[in-house]
C-alpha cells in the first residue's frame, strides 16, 4: 500500500494541535491543510472501496492510505458513509461539469448527447476506482447512498427530455420514459465494470448513443448519427 512520505501531519497529535509539516515553513492555514486532507481522504475512500467493496472498507484503512489522523478524519466527516458520499458527490459534480463543457460546443441535441456520453465513458474508463465507486458500490452500499445514486442518475432526465422537441408530438412519449432510458444506459456501463471491462467503456458509445437517441429520432436516423 502506498503511504506518501512527509505527509503525516496531525497523526497522533493531541487535540487542537497540528503536527509539524515538511519543511516547517509551509505557510498553510489550518483550513488549507484540512482541505488537502479532505481531498486525500476522498481519493483514499475511492481506492479502498474499489479494492475491497464498501462493506469491507474501514476508516482505519482510509486514514492510513490518506496519511491523515483518525481525529482529523472525524473533524471532516461523520463516518465512512459521509466520506463515501462526499467522494460520490465530488465525482458527480465533476462529471456534470464534463457533460456541460463537452456538450457546449456541439451544434444540436443529438450531438450534445453523444458528446456527453463520450465524455462520461472516457472519464470512467480512465478512472477505474471512481467508476467502481459511482456505478457499482453506490448502487447498494447503504440505503442513504442508494438514494444519492438514484438522484445522480435522474439528474440526466431533463437534458434527455429536450429530445422530445425532435418528436412530431412531444407528449407521444410517456412520462418517465427518460428515467428508464438513462437507467438502462447506466446499467449497461455497470455491467461492463462488473465484467472487468472498465477500460473498454468507450467502446459502448455507438450502442449507447443508438439506445438513447432512437426513441427520439427513430431507429434509422439514430443509428446513422451514432455510427458517425
Amino acid at each position: 500500500m502506498e503511504v506518501r512520505e512527509g505527509e503525516g501531519e496531525g497523526r497522533g497529535e493531541g487535540p487542537g494541535e497540528l503536527g509539524p509539516l515538511p519543511g516547517g515553513h509551509h505557510g498553510l492555514s489550518r483550513e488549507q491543510i484540512l482541505e488537502s486532507q479532505r481531498e486525500r481522504l476522498l481519493a483514499a475512500v475511492a481506492h479502498e472501496v474499489a479494492a475491497r467493496g464498501y462493506r469491507a472498507t474501514t476508516i482505519t484503512e482510509i486514514v492510513k492510505f490518506a496519511s491523515v489522523s483518525t481525529r482529523d478524519f472525524y473533524e471532516l466527516f461523520d463516518g465512512k458513509e459521509d466520506c463515501f458520499l462526499a467522494a460520490f458527490d465530488a465525482v458527480h459534480d465533476h462529471v456534470a461539469e464534463l457533460i456541460s463543457t463537452s456538450a457546449a460546443s456541439e451544434p444540436d441535441w443529438p450531438h450534445q448527447v453523444i458528446a456527453a456520453l463520450r465524455a462520461v465513458l472516457g472519464f470512467f474508463a480512465a478512472e477505474p476506482d471512481l467508476a467502481r465507486l459511482c456505478l457499482v458500490e453506490s448502487v447498494s452500499a447503504t440505503p442513504r447512498i442508494a438514494i444519492h445514486f438514484r438522484e445522480a442518475v435522474l439528474t440526466g432526465v431533463s437534458a434527455l427530455a429536450r429530445g422530445r422537441a425532435e418528436l412530431a408530438d412531444p407528449d407521444s412519449m410517456l412520462p418517465e420514459a427518460e428515467s428508464s432510458i438513462i437507467g438502462g444506459a447506466v446499467s449497461l456501463a455497470t455491467r461492463s465494470i462488473l465484467a472487468g471491462d472498465t477500460e473498454k467503456l468507450p467502446e459502448l458509445l455507438p450502442d449507447l448513443a443508438d439506445f438513447v437517441l432512437s426513441p427520439y429520432l427513430g431507429a434509422g436516423r439514430a443509428a446513422a448519427i451514432a455510427a458517425s
Partner: protein, 191 residues
C-alpha cells in the same frame, strides 16, 4: 432488512423479527449471507415459475409475451416490496456470488427480448447490447422506486417499459399502440 440495508442487519435482528431462536436460525443457515442467498433464490425461482406458468398457459404473439412477463414481474415486486428490495437493491452488495447470480437473473429477459429481432427486417443489425440495456431499463425502474419506498408507482412503468422494449423492435407507432391499448391490467387481487 429493507429498512436498514443488508450490511446493517444482524442475525440477532433476523431471528427477532422471524420469531425464531438462534438455534433454529443456525440449523437452517450457516450465516447471514447463506440466509440471504436462500431468500434470494426462492424469490427468483418463484417469480421465474410464475412467468413460465403465464407464458405456457396459452401461446401468444411476441409483443403480448413481453407484456405478460413485465406485468408478472411488476406484480411480484409490488406484492412483496421487502423481498424485492432485498433482491434488486441489496443483492449487489452481499458478495460476489450473489451479485453474479443477480446479473444472471436480469439476463433472463434477454432471450425473450431478442426474439423481437425476428419481427424486424433489420433485426440482425440492431446493437448487440440492446437486450442487456433494455433489461437494465426494466430493473433500474424497479430499483429506483424501491430505493425511495414508492413501489406502488411501479405500476405506471408497465406501459413505459413495454413501449421502450417494443419500440426497439417494432417501431414507434406499433409500440405505442400495443403498449397503451393492450397492456394487461393488474390482477384484481393485488389492486
Amino acid at each position: 432488512m429493507a429498512e436498514r440495508g443488508y450490511a446493517d442487519v444482524s442475525v440477532e435482528l433476523i431471528v427477532k423479527r422471524a420469531h425464531v431462536s438462534y438455534k433454529t436460525f443456525y440449523r437452517h443457515f450457516g450465516s447471514k449471507e447463506e440466509c440471504f442467498v436462500a431468500l434470494f433464490e426462492s424469490a427468483l425461482d418463484g417469480t421465474e415459475k410464475k412467468i413460465r406458468a403465464r407464458l405456457d398457459a396459452e401461446p401468444v404473439p411476441w409483443a403480448e409475451q413481453v407484456a405478460l412477463v413485465l406485468r408478472t414481474l411488476i406484480d411480484a415486486i409490488v406484492a412483496d416490496p421487502v423481498i424485492a428490495r432485498a433482491v434488486i437493491v441489496e443483492a449487489p452488495s452481499v458478495g460476489p456470488a450473489v451479485a453474479e447470480r443477480y446479473q444472471q437473473a436480469t439476463k433472463a429477459l434477454v432471450p425473450l427480448f431478442r426474439a423481437g429481432r425476428e419481427l424486424n427486417p433489420r433485426g440482425a443489425e440492431l446493437p448487440e447490447t440492446l437486450e442487456d440495456t433494455l433489461a437494465g431499463s426494466v430493473f433500474w425502474s424497479a430499483y429506483q422506486r424501491l430505493v425511495v419506498g414508492e413501489v406502488e408507482q411501479l405500476d405506471a412503468y408497465l406501459p413505459v417499459l413495454l413501449e421502450l422494449v417494443l419500440r426497439a423492435y417494432l417501431g414507434p407507432e406499433e409500440a405505442s399502440r400495443i403498449a397503451r391499448a393492450d397492456a394487461p391490467t393488474r390482477q384484481p387481487a393485488l389492486a
